[in-house]
Symmetry: C2
Subunit: 226 residues, 2 copies
DNA sequence: GAGTGGTCTAGACCACGGT
DNA sequence: CCGTGGTCTAGACCACTCA
């Protein structure tokens, strides 16, 4: 006898969908019917079906009932890794060095309003004695003025920001680009070689906090489940 | 007066966390206290807090209570776009052509067991008259034998597979690589140029279905929110 | 042992959206 | 109109884990 828990019910219904018990786009039984079939309350069945809807397997509409999604949404949970953790997960020592540090007005290529007082940083993240990633970053001093006095030999800019402004929101763009001379030298790859790049803009509420671009050597792969 | 719904409560508590009402790693009030503070039932408060825990903002443990996560997990919902949709979203006509099609035994670089009878395909996805992506794909005939007879001038391999085996799971790896001569010619970029690559392996239950590698021109960016 | 979250229940009312 | 999912409630028992 299967335990009547929302998770076991959810997995059982998932199997029935995968097995094709209800065709694509076809209406499946409602909460009340399924609840009585499984011998659980409607609340529990609701939770199981809600979870399947959240992951894009089914679609639910008031009055329209519950349907198997015709083309499932290929959604994935991607966890943006913290660089230190990635390095340490490979059993290597993490360190970072600041290569350039300047005080500049924001340029227009970032989401920080042009002219805003910023710190511009270039730093190299190391895994053992090998370069792991090169970073170019703008930090908005109007939003985090304390950043001006942070000792970046003690803590990386990224970690300081995460601890100071932990719950910011942002966007990410992934791309491939050809290494320019500076990036190529830092990552120890031939000039023009393909490098994986990740651009991140973050906000706290409506204030632009930081814009960072990370360059990874060609071996780097960002992996996740779907 | 704020309505007492799980979502409004969740957003209010999110604001209080962002405002720093409870320090990082510090224990916050339990469900019962918060429920009485908001004048809702414990069930409702549980749902609000569970949602915040799911998105990585708080950590919950039996007996240990609820705590603000010390370093928030940067998680993102990444929707893997269907190529046709990406092209059409840019207002361009989508088409695809098969460049090579062979029947081969699987090689060991994919997740399909070596020696399995496969179709190997190379195809070009077009946006208007421009190349949009080049695809190399293995399809396991032992898992989807009908694929042998599909007319790929009518429907792309990807779309046929999604409709036929809709609920497969898989993994994805993103990287930057240097275009080899064939890919460079197809994408109309200089040989050796950086191309964005996406490798996908998919399974239905435990059966390997298909392994695909997509190559995108250097302008391509994969964007998402965090 | 005891406190906290995890979960289930039975019942209720509401909101959306096809008919 | 009225069926369906969306949500809330009050109460209960359980399971984990810290002290």
């Amino acid at each position: 006898m299967t335990a009547v828990t929302h998770s076991s019910i959810r997995e059982d219904i998932r199997k029935r969908i995968v097995a094709g018990e209800w065709g694509l786009g076809e209406q499946m039984p409602g909460e009340i019917d399924l609840a009585s079939e499984y011998g659980c309350s409607r609340t529990t069945m609701n939770r199981a079906l809600r979870a399947l809807a959240d992951e894009g397997m089914i679609e639910r509409k008031r009055k329209g009932g519950t349907r198997v999604r015709p083309l499932p949404l290929p959604k994935a949970q991607l966890r943006i890794p913290i660089i230190r953790e990635q390095v340490e997960a490979r059993g290597l020592d993490y360190s970072s060095k600041v290569i350039h540090r300047k005080r500049l007005s924001a340029k227009s290529q970032t989401h920080i309003p042009p002219g805003t007082d910023c710190i511009y940083l270039e730093s190299l993240h190391m895994a053992g004695s090998e370069p792991f990633a090169y970073e170019k970053r703008w930090v908005n001093l109007a939003a985090v003025s304390e950043f001006e006095h942070v000792d970046l030999s003690e803590i990386s800019a990224n970690e300081w920001l995460v601890r100071t402004v932990p719950f910011s929101r942002g966007n990410v763009a992934l791309a491939a680009s050809n290494a320019d001379a500076a990036v190529a030298e830092m990552l120890n790859v031939p000039c023009g070689n393909a490098v994986f790049t990740m651009q991140r803009n973050t906000w706290l509420e409506s204030a632009a906090i930081t814009a960072a671009t990370l360059f990874f050597p060609p071996e780097y792969r960002l992996e996740f489940e779907i």
